[in-house]
C-alpha cells in the first residue's frame, strides 16, 4: 500500500491571512483553541506574531494565549518537516513491539523522537494511542493512519518519503 497521502501544503505566514482565520471564528464560544488549531492547519505552525494578534482580537493577555499554545502538544511554534510521523507508544502497541519500532524509526528517519531530521523531510514524534489498538503497532503520517506496522514497513515508508522529497 501507499503510505503517504498528498503532502500537506501550508500557506506562508501573513498577519492579514491570520486575521482572516480569526474572523472565521467570530461568534463562537471560547474560540481560542479552535483558532489555534485553524492557524496551525493553515500555516503549519503558530507564528510568534500570532500571539499578539490573538490577544488583541480576543481581549486576552499575551500570557494567556502563550499559556494555551505551550500547553497542547500538537501546537508547534516552528514549521515541521515535510512529513509528520507519529509513532504510538501506548500499551497496546508496546505489547507487540512499539519500542523496537521507535528504535528503527529513529534510525531510518535519522532523527530522535521529538525532532526534525537534518533534511527537514520528517518530524518524528511519540504519541500515546491513535485509537488503532486492534491493528497495533500503529503510526500516523500527517493525518493518515497506518496499522500493522513493522520495522520492515517503516523502512519502506522511509524509502517512499525519500522518493517524494528527492
Amino acid at each position: 500500500m501507499n503510505y503517504l497521502a498528498e503532502p500537506k501544503q501550508f500557506a506562508s505566514w501573513s498577519t492579514d491571512a491570520a486575521r482572516e482565520v480569526v474572523l472565521r471564528h467570530k461568534g463562537e464560544r471560547g474560540p481560542l483553541l479552535e483558532i489555534l488549531n485553524d492557524l496551525q492547519g493553515t500555516f503549519g505552525y503558530i507564528h510568534e506574531d500570532a500571539i499578539a494578534i490573538l490577544a488583541e482580537e480576543l481581549n486576552l493577555s499575551q500570557a494567556e494565549v502563550y499559556g494555551v499554545v505551550t500547553f497542547y502538544k500538537d501546537l508547534r511554534t516552528e514549521a515541521p518537516g515535510g512529513f509528520l510521523v507519529k509513532i504510538c507508544r501506548g500499551e497496546s502497541c508496546q505489547s507487540v513491539g512499539a519500542d523496537k519500532l521507535v528504535e528503527s524509526a529513529q534510525e531510518v528517519f535519522e532523527t530522535k523522537l521529538g525532532s526534525t531530521n537534518s533534511e527537514r523531510s520528517v518530524t518524528l514524534e511519540e504519541v500515546f494511542c491513535l485509537g488503532n489498538c486492534a491493528l497495533s503497532p500503529a503510526i500516523m503520517v500527517d493525518e493518515k493512519l497506518i496499522g500493522r506496522m513493522s520495522t520492515e514497513r517503516i523502512a519502506e515508508l522511509a524509502d517512499e518519503i525519500r522518493g517524494v522529497t528527492l
Binding site: Y72, K73, D74, S92, A134, G147
Partner: protein, 521 residues
Amino acid sequence: MTEVIQVYVPKDSAARSVGADDIAVAIAQQAARRQINIELVRNGSRGMFWLEPLVEVLTPAGRVAYGPVSAADVEGLFDSGFLEGKDHRLSLGLTEAIPYLASQNRVTFARMGLSDPLSVDAYIANGGLSGLKAALSMSQNDIVLAVTKSGIRGRGGAGFPTGIKWKTVLEANSDQKFVCCNADEGDSGTYADRMLMEGDPLLLIEAMIISGIAVGATEGYIYVRSEYPDAISTLKAAIAIGYQNNWLGQSVLGSDHSFDLYVRSGAGAYICGEETAMLESLEGRRGVIRAKPPLPAIEGLFQKPTVVNNVLSLAAVPSILAKGPEFYSEMGIAKSRGTQVFQLSGNLARPGIVEVPFGVTLDTLINEFGGGSRSSRPVKAAQVGGPLGSYIPSSKFDLKMDYETFAAANAMVGHGGIVVFDDTANMGRQARFAMEFCSVESCGKCTPCRIGSVRGVEVIDRILSGQDVYANVELLKDLCQTMIDGSLCAMGGLTPMPVLSVLEHFPEELGLVNGQLAASR
C-alpha cells in the same frame, strides 16, 4: 447487466490503515474492466480487525464476507465469483454467522458496519431516530427516569449513573445549559468511541439531542481528540445532515425544542479526557483540571449546568428510550446493567469489538473471542481499563466484568479496553511506563501527580537497577498512597493502580520474591 451488486468495503480509519482504500479502488477498477455494475458501499467496520480489510458482498442468502483482503487479491476474488458469494481462499461465509459476531449482543453497536454511516435512509431503516421520536412524546422527567431505570452508568470509566447526572442538570435552574460529549478517547486500548463516531455518527447526534431535550439544554459540543481526524470530519458531515433534515436547529423534528451541535477538536492532551479539563479546553484555555465541587452538572461549561457524558453512555440512550429501560436493565449482573462494548487489543489473535452484557469473564473475552495471543506464546497479563487500569495476571482471568467485582480485585473496568501481553512482557517496565505516562500527561495543577509521577519513574528505575530494592519498594508504595490520597483527579489518583497491580501480581519483576525482598539483593 441490469442487476446492481452491492459490495461493502469499510471506510473506518482502522480498516483504511491497512489498505481498505486501495481495495475499494481495485474493486471499482475490476468491475469497470469486466463491465459489471456494482454499488460500492463504504460502510463502518464490523469490528473484527484481524479480518480487516473485510470485504462483503450482498447475496440472496445474505452478506458474504472475505478477509483479510489485500489489493493483490481482488482480481482473484472476481475470478472465483465472489460477487455471487462463491468460495475463495479468503471466504468467511455469511458475515452474521461468523462466531465472533454471532455470539455478541450488539445494542449500542447494532448498526455498526451495516451501511454507509452518513446515509439517513439506512439509519432510519435500521431503527435510527426511534429513540428521539419516543423522547419527543415524553416529559423531561420521564426521559430522565427511563435513563435512570435502565441502570446505565458512565461508560467513560468512572461508572457514575447517567440518569442521576441528567437529573441534577434537569433540576438546576439556569437560563442556559449545555450537553458535552467527551470524545477525548485517550486511553490506549480503547477505540470504540472512534468507531462509533466514524461508523454511526447519526446515533451520537440523536443521543445528544435527546439529552438536550431531557435536561433543557439547547446547545451541545462534541470534544474529539485531534488524533481522530476522520472522526472529526465524519461528525461534521453528519451534523450538516442533521441540520438539513431538521433534527438539529430551531425546531427538532418539527417540535418546539431547539438544539444546536458543534464539534471541537482537542490538540494532543490526554488530560482533556478528564471532564473538567475538557471543559476548560472547550472554553479555550489550558486543559488544567478544576477542583470539584462544584460538579459540572451544577457549574460546568461557562459555569452553566452541563451534562458531560462519554460517547458510549450517550449512544446507549436512544435504544433505551426506543425499547424501554427494562430492555437494557435486564442485561448484565449486579449493579452493572446493560452491555459494554469491550475493546480487545494488544498481543491477541483476534482483536476487535465485543459487545456483550456485563458479567462475561476476562477468560471468555481474551481466550474465546480473542483467541489467545497473536504470538502463540502464553498470555501473561491483561491491562484492563486503560493506562490507569490494573495489570491482571492470567491466573485471575475468571474475573467477571462488573464494576464492583473489579474494584474489589483492585482493578477497574474503565472504558472496557483490554490490552493483552504475552510472557515476553517486562512488568517492571510496564509499571515504570505508568509513571512515565503520568509525568508526560499531568496537567500540573496538583503536586502528587506532577511531581509524584516523576519521582515514581526515578524510584522504579532504582528498583529495576537493583539499588536498595526493599527500601525503594517501600518508598514506591508510600508514594503511590500519597498520589491516591492527594491528587485532585483520576490521573494522579489512578496512576498507582497499574503500578501496585504489578507489585501485587508480579512482585518478582520489581525485585521481590514471594512478596519479600529477593535474597541476593
